[in-house]
């Protein structure tokens, strides 16, 4: 297989398509490239459609990136210019902005122009490296493994005390002792970390909290096994991927580049409804521990927000609502929306400072 083969000139574009995809952030491996050439051969190809179908089947672009893929395909095989601003050749970049997710929810009200630019500015402009906060995050990282909520898994592990006989072990022991079994080895269910879903309110009223929330989400991302992070403002944006980067500054910059509605108006109810209407996203919430960082201040009718939280509470294992207004232990929700929400969520805790958020999340697994 490894001897050099003379490639017919007509086949060259097929072979150069994979590198183009790679340069634009699509994973395309050499063996996929080889399969692509074989596939095109198998199909004839009789029409241009065949070529496109083969490309789709072999390289398998995710549905939310199909537009970018189409643009590249047209540019490469049909010689059309790239009309859409396709992501530049950033091979080192370990994340791609989720174009699909950002477009899921159309803002019904105008975004203030230049919001993105000011967001980046304000993000870097706000000072947040107070010693206390750094300390709190460090404490969180140290303690999270043992304190984040867990669920029983379907898998079993050997245990000193358990309810199920460990048959495999029993047979091994029996074989060693000529078929005699002295004690019955037992096993019990393993536990696994519960899925975490973080919803960050980035509307204007939460302006001072946004960085803190993002930094906390980043820390959480580092210690949690399965964690999804979304921002809710005038739109819904998934920022899980940028936050996966280990380096904090890079992760923050990545997240702020994806989100386009910093400090905008509050349409929390609509954004939550948009979140729940995508089955894939609603699936993230299923039996997960949901952490909402929001003051719950909603412009307009409270009804959409209340019904969305109601649905979320039926999907989730537990909802922890952290509001900066709830710093005082004697806090009672004031707005109508929050009064309703208080009855649905497991707990409304303080989101006033990073140490408070850390404490709340570390204690979420405690029985209420």
């Amino acid at each position: 297989m490894s001897r050099p083969v003379a490639v017919p000139r007509a086949a060259m574009p097929l072979l150069t398509f994979a590198p183009l995809l790679r340069a634009n952030g699509f994973p395309a491996s050499p063996d996929q490239s080889q399969s692509f050439v074989t596939a095109v051969g198998l199909l004839g190809p009789r029409r241009m459609d065949d070529l496109y179908r083969a490309a789709c089947a072999i390289f398998g672009p995710a549905p939310d990136r199909i537009d970018a893929f189409d643009a590249l395909y047209r540019a490469h095989f049909l010689g059309q210019s790239l009309s859409a601003p396709a992501p530049g050749p950033e091979e080192e970049q370990a994340f791609e902005p989720e174009d699909g997710a950002a477009e899921l929810f159309d803002p019904t009200e105008e975004n203030t122009s230049g919001a993105e630019a000011t967001a980046v500015e304000s993000l870097s402009g706000r000072s947040f490296s107070a010693q206390e906060e750094v300390e709190a995050l460090r404490r969180f990282r140290r303690m999270a493994q043992g304190r984040l909520p867990r669920r029983t898994s379907r898998r079993l592990r050997t245990a000193r005390q358990g309810t199920r006989p460990h048959l495999r072990r029993a047979l091994k022991d029996a074989v060693k002792r000529d078929g005699e079994l002295l004690t019955l080895p037992v096993q019990k269910r393993r536990t696994a970390q519960r899925r975490l879903l973080v919803l960050i309110d980035i509307s204007g009223s939460m302006k001072t909290e946004t960085d803190r929330s993002l930094r906390f989400a980043h820390a959480l991302m580092g210690v949690a096994d399965r964690c999804e992070v979304f921002t809710l403002g005038t739109r819904l944006t998934r920022i899980t991927r940028p936050l996966k980067l280990k380096h904090r500054t890079a992760a923050m910059e990545g997240a702020s580049a994806v989100v386009s509605d910093w400090d905008g108006g509050t349409r929390l109810g609509d954004a939550l409804a948009a979140f729940l209407s995508v089955p894939r996203y609603a699936g993230f919430a299923r039996s997960a521990c949901v952490i909402v960082l929001s003051d719950g201040l909603e412009r307009g009718e409270p009804a959409p927000l209340v019904s969305a939280v109601d649905r979320l509470s039926r999907l989730a294992w537990r909802i922890l609502w952290l509001s900066p207004l709830a710093a005082d232990p004697s806090y009672r929700p004031q707005t109508e929306a929050m009064r309703h929400i208080a009855q649905m969520v497991g707990r409304i805790g303080s989101g006033a400072s990073l140490p408070a958020v850390v404490d709340e999340v570390l204690n979420v697994a405690r029985p209420v």
Binding site: L43, D50, C56, A57, G60, A174, V175, P279, G283
Partner: protein, 293 residues
């Protein structure tokens, strides 16, 4: 890479689409191309899509046109090797040891091996189609483990040795996309995303699947369902729901319900969340009337 351009008399996507049609499954050109390529290149076929668009049905149809038995492995969180590959029948082994007394007994004989779907498919690769259903429900460990299986098509059993497939088995994976699958897994597969079919195709599917439904009713149901899919619902009705709705409404109609009413009364087979029914409460009648008109 072993390429077989003709599989059981199927020499191209068009042939495959036709065969699938005979098996009561309507595949678009995209799907038939992807499925044909998977079969011809000997790669697993990965089908993604919303619940109820016919991923599992597709796998069943492919198995039936190849004349093979479908071996289904339903994934769930925490699925492990003993549920997917094989397990020893420990009680029987134990009994065998006891009964043998001083005789020699091979407790790792094939008699004591309980084959689970993946081993079953490897043992009879040319008679089975392995369906790994809803792989997104399984956890990452299982996905990683699956990678090894899908590239080598072999399973090693420590006590006896390695079981290798004589020929490349046909493997179909489905995913509801509740989470992103790992790139390494996608890379090994031929991929197709099944979306909701267009109105004409969906009406044909309804006619095909539900023999009692008239052409007219099918068209009406499809109109109503596509209107429903426009609404912000928790769970938009899939193709399976469309078929059931048409069947249910037809049944009610034969028992004396008039047309718009039959649809309205059978709504429970199409919308299955109380929240959705409440959301639509005041508009539902108008929506159905529009579709039926």
């Amino acid at each position: 890479m072993a390429v077989t351009p003709v599989i059981s008399g199927i020499a191209g996507p068009a042939d495959l689409a036709e065969a699938l049609r005979d098996a009561q499954y309507l595949a678009g050109e995209d799907l038939s191309t992807a499925a044909y390529l998977a079969l011809a290149l000997g790669k697993p076929l990965l089908l993604e899509g919303a619940p109820g668009v016919g991923k599992t049905e597709g796998a069943k149809a492919i198995a039936s046109i190849l004349g093979r038995q479908l071996v289904r492995l339903q994934c769930y969180e925490g699925i492990d090797a003993s549920a997917a590959l094989y397990e020893w029948n420990y009680p029987r082994q134990m009994l065998a040891i006891r009964q043998a007394g001083n005789e020699y007994v091979n407790i790792y004989a094939d008699d004591f091996l309980v084959a689970r779907p993946m081993l079953e498919a490897l043992r009879h690769p040319s008679d089975t189609v392995l369906l790994i259903d809803e792989i997104d429900r399984a956890d990452h460990e299982f996905e990683a483990f699956l990678l090894e299986f899908l590239s080598d098509f072999s399973i090693s059993i420590p006590e006896t040795g390695t079981v290798r497939a004589e020929v490349q088995p046909v493997v179909i994976l489905t995913s509801n996309r509740t989470r992103e699958l790992h790139e390494a897994l996608r890379r090994r597969c031929v991929y197709h995303y099944i979306g909701y079919p267009d109105a004409a195709r969906e009406a044909t599917i309804v006619m095909m699947r539900a023999s009692t439904v008239t052409r007219e009713t099918a068209a009406k149901v499809v109109r109503a369902v596509s209107a429903l899919r426009e609404e912000p619902l928790a769970k938009a009705p899939g193709v399976a729901e469309t078929v059931e709705w048409a069947e249910a409404a037809t049944l009610l109609n034969t028992q004396g319900s008039t047309w718009p009413l039959a649809f309205r009364r059978a709504i429970g087979v199409s919308l299955k969340a109380q929240a959705d029914v409440t959301v639509l409460a005041d508009r539902l009648d108008a929506l159905i009337d529009d579709a039926v008109a």
